[in-house]
């Protein structure tokens, strides 16, 4: 199935140079004395890179068979990360290179979004907020609750996040996975 430029809209999944891509932004440009173009910003769903292309109005691209499913992260055997579709109980696995930032945030049993292309998993998106445990951080100064400077803390997935000075080892903290920022105590 093909989509022509007049059908383009944000979020549409299309094949570009052999890779599935998602339209991030679609702008029609019609020079006063020229033909119309669509200037389109894509995100490559495999590499995560964004790219910009300009199409002549009327060109078309093949639709990409891409699905985003909520799944449960089961475990990792060190080489593969295993997930399960809670509806069909079907299991999928991904290599480290496809895990992206999800590596830093997922703990077993967490829910996340797995993107399938032609029914093969290509990427994982963690929830916007996850709750993780502090496994290492310097002790804070007594009486400092204002959190003026903050300090680095290592969490149970291995990721390092700036936290306020009052946070100590064993505390559970809420982290925004889009910015890698501390967003509160859990």
């Amino acid at each position: 199935m093909n989509y022509s430029t007049s059908q383009f809209k944000n979020g549409m999944k299309l094949m570009l140079d052999g890779n599935p891509c998602s339209i991030v932004n679609n702008e029609i440009v019609k020079p006063g004395k020229g033909q119309a173009f669509n200037r389109v910003k894509f995100k490559d769903l495999i590499t995560g890179k964004t790219l910009e292309k300009t199409f002549k109005s009327g060109e078309s691209l093949e639709a990409a068979d891409v699905m985003e499913l909520e799944m449960q992260y089961l475990y990792s055997d060190g080489e593969k990360w295993h997930f399960m579709d809670p509806v069909s109980f079907e299991q999928f696995d991904l290599g480290k290179e496809s895990m992206g930032t999800a590596l830093s945030y997922l703990v077993e049993q967490d829910k996340c979004i797995v993107t399938l292309w032609n029914n093969n998993p290509i990427s994982v998106t963690p929830p916007n907020h996850v709750i993780l445990e502090v496994t290492d951080t310097d002790p804070g100064l007594k009486g400092d609750t204002a959190g003026t400077g903050g300090k680095p803390a290592t969490l149970n997935t291995g990721v390092v996040v700036q936290v306020p000075l009052f946070v100590s080892i064993g505390d559970k903290v809420k982290v925004d996975t889009r910015t890698n920022e501390y967003s509160g105590r859990a």
């Binding site: 007049s6 140079d17 702008e27 029609i28 440009v29 019609k30 020079p31 006063g32 004395k33 020229g34 033909q35 119309a36 173009f37 200037r39 910009e52 292309k53 300009t54 199409f55 002549k56 109005s57 060109e59």
Partner: protein, 269 residues
Amino acid sequence: MTEVVTPTLLNAPTTDVYIDSIEVSVNQALSKSSQLYLHTSPELEMKRLLSKGSGDIFQICQVFRDNEQGRINSNEFTMLEFYRVDFTMHQLMDEIAELLAALGKNEPIKKMSYAEVFFEYSDIDILNSDINDLKTILNSLDLNSDDEWIEDIQMHLFVHLIEPKLKEIPLCFIYDFPKDQAALAEIHGPVAHRFEMYINGTEIANGYQEIQSAQEYRDRFNEELNKRKALSKPFEFLDNSFLKDLEGGLPYCSGVAIGIERLYSSLSL
């Protein structure tokens, strides 16, 4: 400068390759119906006046175009069109800058030739690249290279490589377009004395040092009509009455069309 009003309903559609006139059916005496066309710009009617010795003239009017698409395009918009006798293209650009300053737009103006803008934002020597050179560049960018006319390819590269960079420039004039994009501007060697004004990457104005000879107008119109034919576009006939009126030629002059809605929306930014 004299304000003029010219007809909106014309006997002939525009010949512009990528602009389509809106056709209207009108009933005349004895219920004989005929087709007329809403003007896509007051250009030709104003040039009739110039050829009759009107001197400097301006007009603000609604214009109508079919098959428009995009967020900042519309089937109807407002145009300011004016002509200055004995003005070069550069003098006209200076005057437009003064007009914008009077409207409170005082940002520094960047002025670049079409060739310079390509050198600044790409490594393409646009005036010395033939159609095959440019197709090779399109291919290397993974862009469609089916176009058969060099001006279409030049514009594709402009839209892809240059226009996004212009978003950071508050006000810029680009002049000396390749002769293949002359439209109705006088050609001098490899370039046409045509300019466009961009405000933060949006095309606001298009101007020419105008062609003076009626024969040259006829040749340009026929060239455009042949291209419309090749693209299977409707309306392939010439406004012969315009060409007849122009037989004595146009005085040396420069003219510009400014999109008023786009200009005003850029002022309120």
